[in-house]
Subunit: 428 residues, 2 copies
């Protein structure tokens, strides 16, 4: 009943999504299990970026604001991204960073919630939420004299008390790969008059997301992980139209820059927000990096013909199921634990292993063998994590076999004990 | 006494900065007088961007956070920019957008000023300041229940009353090219206990700026105008060390993202700001666009050997003096006015002309002749503007002659009356 390398090759041969790998440039010999940190380079990106630099900027200069539609780029990319997250055209902007976009939507959510119910003085989030989300929330709460309550996943439902204004969660946890039930938690919160913000950094392009189906209020996410937009690619922001089109508050989102103005080229001294999601733009965007993001989104557009996010999800679960099974079969006795839920409904597109000691060194030994995952340090409450992301756009089943085989060899040989794998860098 | 084409050619032949033009890719036949809107493409940029895409991202992937020092890029570029604005190493970050950075420093300035003096409830700025600065200030003032007072340049001194917390000005006006006396206004404000924020969008790389010499408090600016960083290039932020290193306020600047954390890779749930200017970082930056900005800054580093900003300023004033003189000699009788001060001490690196009617059409007719300036619409209080930026890095004196000759021909022939030059686009 054990899976063999031949079985994995057979799975690859049958994989309807296998042709998508040809859209990417993967370094030779690398098994890249870190697409949840930085996605790989689409083959189209280099030529697209070169064209933006040489033609749109170099030759056409300011005319490109019109002729290359630079001004509309955040919305055009947002429209292309929208189907991946269950949003509609005209509802998403690709702009700024996740942190900045979270500041916008948390500000807006607090402004809306507290205008209706000033007694709501609390934001609830998860203690293991991605830290930058918590830093932004901590700052906004302190500035407004509000309370930020951080809880464990099992405590969320009980924390939705009448004094809560906003529930702010990341859909798929960056440390564990655990996925929340967006629709159920949104419904539970809204039944108590609480607005919901979803961070989709580890969801967009990784798992099917249906923001309208879940009736979410706000969402933000990242362009450089599963969307393969390039290092530090601009992020995205979505606001449900029932909030985005509220005419009542001029500074509902407080980063009121000129790109969010109703008439940005009138150069009037007074701010007048543009309709809908456009008011969530602020300053002039980095056109070269935005253009690179488009190439990442183009691969998802190409994937539509092969079954789109539903097919990608099926393959993602098959890859992570296989990885878990092979690790448990072939690396038994080495003290590895599983931090990621086995239940498909609770799993994102990554598998996180735990180990009481030397998790960092094991990850480094794997990287030396060109099996690239990453390490996330624990603290008193959480264990150290060996983190492996599985991107069905460019990973196959044989890759999973080979990754586990390298892990087995690293553990069996004890090569992770070498001194060079035990020296921490500043950035990992 | 009139200047001839031969005189202009002689000036070019003697110009010690003439070799800098070889650092840029200029479209053939174009006289580009719009470097104050979007700078031109440095020759090094295409190869640099291609290398970031193919090698740093494509081949090295997440390792490049270490091996290509992506994480330090905002500070390394800031250090390279610092001498252009009279700042010191470690004081400047290239990051986010001008609007976002202004939100950070205006928030911080208000937090500092009002902690000491809660009765200071006013921000003063110029009514013809760049609109996005005013939009950000309007939003922050409304949120905090403060007052934004907009005045004309001649009214600034009288507006510095005891209830003012912050004076927020753009050093060189985008509409007129008029330059404030930064040191004098800063001293006048500080003598009244008022903090000063300077927007250097039309100054950095255009005129010598000495932030420490002027004892300024905060500054922001743009990477895509005179710094030639590419469309929407990341902006910059500077804070005087006396404010940047204040240990007392955790959220002095409220965009408290992970790149501004004291230990960004510890992934702790609580925010702890990094020392100094580093806390003015927020989210992950667009590495490709940031890398392009570096090529723009490299040209200024190369210009150091030829006299640096002082030599660039001398040439800039000679170019703008020549343009004014030639327009007045050769385009007389066509109703053109001069919006830019004749006094060198009050002039940036652009010349703005006014005309009661058809300013837009004249600019379009010039663009059709490949003389690229731009048009800025007036309102009741300000006239329409024909705007011409002069970038001494790549413009010569013969370019000025030819630009004026085209303007003369457009006016003498009346070709600006053609219908195609009178249809306004959405974006200009």
């Amino acid at each position: 009943m054990t899976t063999t390398l031949q079985d994995c090759r057979a799975l690859d041969a049958q994989d309807p999504l296998a042709p998508l790998r040809a859209h990417f440039t993967l370094p030779p010999g690398v098994i890249y299990l870190d697409g949840n940190s930085l996605g790989v380079l689409p083959k189209a990106t280099a030529a697209r970026v070169a064209d933006v630099v040489a033609r749109e900027w170099g030759a056409d200069l300011i005319q490109s604001w019109n002729t290359a539609s630079w001004f509309d780029l955040p919305q055009r990319l947002g429209d292309q991204l929208a189907p991946l997250i269950g949003a509609r055209p005209g509802e998403v902007m690709c702009t700024d960073t996740t942190s900045i976009n979270l500041f916008k939507v948390l500000s807006a959510a607090l402004n809306i919630a507290r205008a209706d119910s000033p007694a709501r003085r609390r934001v609830v989030s998860e203690r293991s939420n991605f830290p930058t989300d918590l830093y932004i929330a901590e700052g906004l709460c302190q500035e407004r004299g509000l309370d930020l309550l951080l809880v464990e996943p099992g405590e969320i439902a009980a924390s939705l008390t009448p004094d809560v204004a906003v529930l702010m969660l990341t859909h798929v946890n960056y440390r564990t790969g655990a996925m929340h039930d967006m629709a159920a938690l949104t419904a539970a919160a809204q039944a108590r008059g609480i607005l919901c913000i979803w961070d989709l950094c580890h969801s967009a392009g990784a798992v099917p997301v249906d923001l309208h189906g879940a009736n979410a209020d706000f969402a933000v996410g990242c362009g450089y992980k599963y969307l393969n937009g390039g290092p530090g690619a601009p992020a995205f922001v979505w606001v449900h139209p029932r909030h985005a089109d509220r005419p009542d508050a001029k500074f509902l989102q407080p980063l009121s820059g000129w790109w969010g103005h109703a008439a940005p080229f009138a150069f009037t001294p007074g701010y007048q927000p543009a309709p809908g999601i456009t008011r969530y733009l602020c300053g002039t965007q980095p056109i070269i990096s935005l253009s690179a993001l488009q190439c990442g989104l183009d691969v998802f557009t190409a994937a539509e013909a092969l079954g789109g996010m539903a097919a990608l999800r099926t393959k993602s679960l098959a890859l992570t199921d296989l990885f878990i099974a092979l690790v448990e079969e072939r690396c038994a006795g080495h003290g590895l634990g599983l931090a990621t839920p086995r239940d498909h409904a609770q799993r994102g597109s990554q598998v996180c292993l735990t180990r009481a000691e030397y998790a960092y060194a094991i990850v480094q030994a794997l990287i030396a063998r060109r099996v690239v995952g990453d390490f996330r340090k624990g603290d008193g409450a959480y264990p150290d994590i060996l983190r492996f992301g599985f991107t069905p756009l460019y990973l196959g089943f044989e890759d999973v076999w080979n990754a586990v085989e390298h892990l087995r060899q690293v553990l069996d040989s004890g090569e992770w004990q070498r001194p060079e794998f035990n020296q921490r860098n500043a950035v990992t």
